[in-house]
Amino acid sequence: MITDRSVPIVTHIKGAAMQVTLRIMRFDPEKDKKPVMKSYKAEVEPTDRVLDALNYVKWYEDGTLAYRRSCAHGICGSDAVIINGVNRLACKTLIQDVGKTITIEPLAGFKVLKDLIVDFEPFFEQYRSVLPYLINNDPKPIKERLQSPEDREKFDDTTKCILCASCTTSCPIYWANPDYVGPSAIVNAHRFIFDSRDQAAAERLDILNTRSGVWRCRTIFNCTEACPREIEVTRAIEDVKRAILYGES
């Protein structure tokens, strides 16, 4: 007999604590002309995540449901979806926080490939466009490149990005103009622009000081609200705007 109460409750099995209704936006490119909303029942614990409910549907109700997930612990950034009208990671959102009727839709602003799976390629292209890697042409030091805690602090917040696209796809400007580089790419540019070890800040600021760059941001703050890593996205964007304006980094 198991007496250890630290043993986790086994979920996604029939007969669990509560029943929730999942309204999932389905789209099969081979059959559907446009996405359709379908309802499913799932048996879950209040402390389960929305991802567990999706797994329940896929494993017990409808195996054709398509969605991305990988680590299931809020690090890989695979399972960002719209949950009850806001961008959330399905693996970080508890059932008890979203109620008994849960509406799940694919991220807005990207092409839907199937059900909850969207095409991330334009997103990664924009990410690559801001040179998101260390550029330093000095001779390699014998040990690591040292940095003061104060200098490290300048970009600490933006190191946390997991590229889940929650911010970019919550931005009304991005929905209307997919050429906008988007909050996520700016966050990842910020991470190197303000890194004292990097030497390509001016180049990145030039890239972001264009029509589709940082000036598209209208400080709507949806990105900051959506970030599952609690990055102050709008603040990072404003930092970059001021760096361009004042010629600093």
């Binding site: 009208g85 009304p172 400080t219 930092d239």
Partner: protein
């Protein structure tokens, strides 16, 4: 529809007010230019502004200008004061309170002229 919070709604209001003000400005430039064509036409247009519908339009215009102006100051603050992004939601409520404090007496004054 995406369930954005104060930041999104302030942007929606700002944009709607801005487009509304722009449309009024275009109309106003056109109706003012009438004075160069015909005094009667100009007088007729100005009389339209003094009708009840014109007065209601004026109240809406005042509201749009005030909202756009006060929220514009909020946006400028967010743009130039680094820590203002953390209090953007509170700043929005300040905008709403200041807007109501100025708009309600202004709208009352304009509405009184209708009766």
């Amino acid at each position: 529809m995406y369930r954005g919070r104060e930041g999104m709604w302030s942007w929606v209001l700002h944009r709607v007010a801005g487009v509304g003000i722009f449309i009024f400005l275009v109309a106003h430039i056109v109706d003012t230019s009438f004075v160069g064509w015909s005094a009667d036409l100009y007088n007729h247009t100005v009389a339209l502004y003094r009708s009840s519908i014109g007065r209601i339009g004026e109240i809406i215009l005042i509201g749009a200008v005030l909202l756009h102006a006060f929220n514009g100051l909020r946006i400028i603050t967010i743009d130039f004061v680094p820590k203002a992004t953390r209090i953007q939601r509170q700043l929005f409520y300040v905008v709403v309170i200041v807007f109501l404090a100025v708009f309600i007496p202004g709208a009352y004054y304009l509405a009184r002229a209708m009766f």
